[in-house]
């Protein structure tokens, strides 16, 4: 009933929690992916960095309770994903409403139309659908790891991903799909 033992990037049993070098060794390799994930979920570069730091604090508080052999990256990205969700719930206070009612995050100025359409489509999706799409398309994660990050079973993650892809394609009106 416990999680599967991971292969690479698993934590040694004894971790000195006060050791900055230990933090960098354990979580450092995952920080860039965490940053990409947070950016993709929040569409806010500044908020994404805040989320990664907050997630790092929370992860480090829990790290000595981690089961030996647990894969670090999916575990940490799961914490980042949860922090993104919390940030999104309060995020409306920090959003800027431009003319036309478009809600765009601070500091982001997408230019190309296709880019804008894609970002808008992603923002319009439910959080958990957006999450699996980002993990699959942007972070190139396998379904098993997506399941761990999202906190669901592998079949559920696969089903959610299929539905999310279909929904995104529908929102973007993929022109290559038309006869």
């Amino acid at each position: 009933m416990s999680g599967k033992a991971g292969a690479a990037a698993s934590l040694p049993v004894q971790v000195r929690r006060d050791d900055a070098a230990a933090f960098e060794a354990a979580l450092g390799p995952s920080i860039e992916q965490a940053h990409r994930l947070a950016t993709a979920m929040l569409h806010d570069a500044v908020a994404a960095q805040d989320v990664v730091q907050e997630a790092s604090i929370k992860a480090w508080r829990k790290i000595d309770r981690l089961r030996e052999g647990t894969e670090m990256r999916p575990w940490f990205l799961g914490i980042v994903a949860n922090e993104c969700r919390s940030a999104l719930r309060s995020r409306w206070r920090r959003s800027v409403v431009y003319l036309g009612g478009e809600v765009v995050s601070d500091g982001i100025e997408p230019t190309a139309v296709a880019t804008q359409d894609t970002l808008r489509a992603l923002r319009s999706m439910r959080y958990k659908d957006r999450l699996v799409l980002v993990l699959h398309f942007y972070l190139d994660m396998a379904v098993e790891d997506i399941a761990r990050v999202a906190g669901v079973s592998t079949p559920a993650a696969k089903a959610r991903l299929y539905r999310a892809i279909a929904l995104l394609r529908q929102k973007l009106h993929d022109e290559e799909d038309e006869p």
Binding site: M1, A40, K62, R67, P110, V152, Y162, R169, D174
Partner: protein, 438 residues
């Protein structure tokens, strides 16, 4: 997914990546800044503990002197605290508490007895199974709440988890009257929260196991006047992983006083859940519950048996079938909190079921014994359950919900993939609780 074979997915992938790359801003110093944030957080925690301790100590010293003088005058000089000498890793053990108030530590694999310690005199009556064992965060100290009667006990006993050596006995109710029946360890602070009741209230009392003192008692519910049915029986207590909320279950004298309450923990402040008309904050969860992430999963103790999953505040209930034919007595969740293992009581004739919390699919792993037969030592049934490994659990077998000190007891090990009993251990008294540290 085989993106490589579906050109549409590959086009979609490029489009998503290009869009997200356009808003991504590399931050090469983010690792260093995150490490700095972690270091500052660690320093804050290290500073807060001694400052808080100094303040508490100043108040506690005078109280302790008065208590010690009274204790010495009544009982003589207490012995020195014994430094534990670990000989066995506690996580290789499973701990049991019998209705005779004996703690027995077993080898997790063979169920051979490692040590036994009598922690209190046996109660005169039977005791309903419940959560009366807990372990410290480092696995070194076992906390025991031996009942003096079915409604609970008044002392928290500390044992060395490796050897069973008695370390301390902490009186819980200086003024008398309150009895305590379940406990949980705060995963953040290490404080032991014991849950009990007096004539008019449910209480949560916080104990500092390091300094072996009661920190505070908080009234969490005012009870209606005692009815002819009897007092509330507290079942189990459980903290959320972040230590911000303590849930506890109880079976009251009437159905509308049975369920799960919680208190929100913020430093020294405990805030009880809001109750409507005296009902439990999460009604109906008195028989076995589990807490994971932001969800509560519990058995309603009804037939046909089903689980209920709610959010952390008991809202948006979702009913899930269990695939079993007997009332569930215990609910265990896997590490990802995506699958629930449900154990049925022996009295309702036992069984084992698995529920996928994501899809709601349920599967009976072992079905109940036929009506008219009695579950035996090969029947997967029990009142209290503890996971031993990814595919085995230990169960306390009881013919009813109550454990008796003068009836022999049994603990069984069940393979959760097959539902078969693979091992059993006999006890001179029926077993009230068991604990397998993870």
């Amino acid at each position: 997914m085989s993106d490589g074979q579906d050109p549409r997915n590959e086009r979609l992938r490029r489009r998503v990546r290009d869009a997200l790359d356009s808003i991504y801003r590399p931050a090469p110093d983010l690792v260093r800044r995150s490490a700095g944030a972690v270091a500052r957080d660690r320093r804050r925690h290290r500073l807060a503990a001694p400052l808080g301790g100094i303040a508490l100590t100043a108040v506690a010293v005078a109280v302790l002197v008065l208590v010690l003088v009274r204790h010495v005058s009544e009982h003589g000089v207490p012995g020195p605290a014994v430094t534990p000498q670990p000989t066995v890793t506690p996580r290789q053990s499973v701990y049991t508490l019998t209705a005779g108030n004996e703690v027995v530590a077993l080898d997790r694999t063979t169920l051979a007895v490692r040590w036994r310690t009598q922690v209190a005199t046996p109660p005169a009556e039977g005791v309903d199974a419940g959560a009366m064992l807990a372990i410290s965060r480092d696995g070194g100290v076992l906390y025991v709440l031996p009942p003096s009667r079915n409604s609970g006990g008044t002392t928290l006993v500390l044992l060395d988890a490796s050897s069973g050596q008695r370390l301390a006995a902490i009186p819980l109710s200086a003024s008398g009257g309150a009895v305590y029946r379940t406990l949980a360890v705060d995963p953040q602070s290490g404080t032991v929260d014991v849950v009990g009741q007096d004539a008019s209230h449910l209480l949560v009392t916080e104990v500092d196991p390091q300094r072996r003192v009661v920190l505070a008692s908080h009234v969490t519910r005012t009870l209606p006047p005692v009815t002819r049915v009897g007092p509330d029986i507290l079942g189990a207590a459980m903290f959320t992983a972040d230590g911000t909320r303590l849930y506890y279950s109880y079976a009251g004298g009437s159905p509308d006083r049975s369920g799960i309450d919680w208190v929100d923990v913020s430093g020294p402040r405990l805030s009880p859940c809001p109750s409507t008309g005296g009902a439990a904050c999460i009604p109906g969860g008195a028989d076995g519950f589990a807490v994971a992430n932001s969800h509560v999963v519990f058995s309603e103790g009804t037939l046909p048996p089903h689980l209920v999953e709610t959010d952390r505040d008991g809202r948006t209930p979702r009913q899930l079938t269990t695939g079993m034919g007997a009332i569930a007595s215990s609910v265990l969740l896997d590490a990802a909190a995506t699958r629930a293992l449900v154990v049925a009581s022996c009295n309702n004739l036992g069984g084992l079921g698995s529920v996928d919390l994501t899809t709601g699919d349920a599967r009976a792993i072992a079905t109940p014994a036929p009506n008219g037969t009695e579950p035996g030592p090969t029947s997967p049934c029990g009142e209290r359950a503890a996971p031993l490994s990814t595919s085995t659990i230990a169960l306390t077998q009881l013919p009813g919900a109550t454990a008796h000190p003068d009836s022999p007891g049994t603990v069984i090990v069940v393979d959760t993939t097959t539902g078969k009993v693979t091992r059993s251990a006999a006890f001179p008294a029926e077993v009230v609780d068991l604990l397998a540290p993870t």
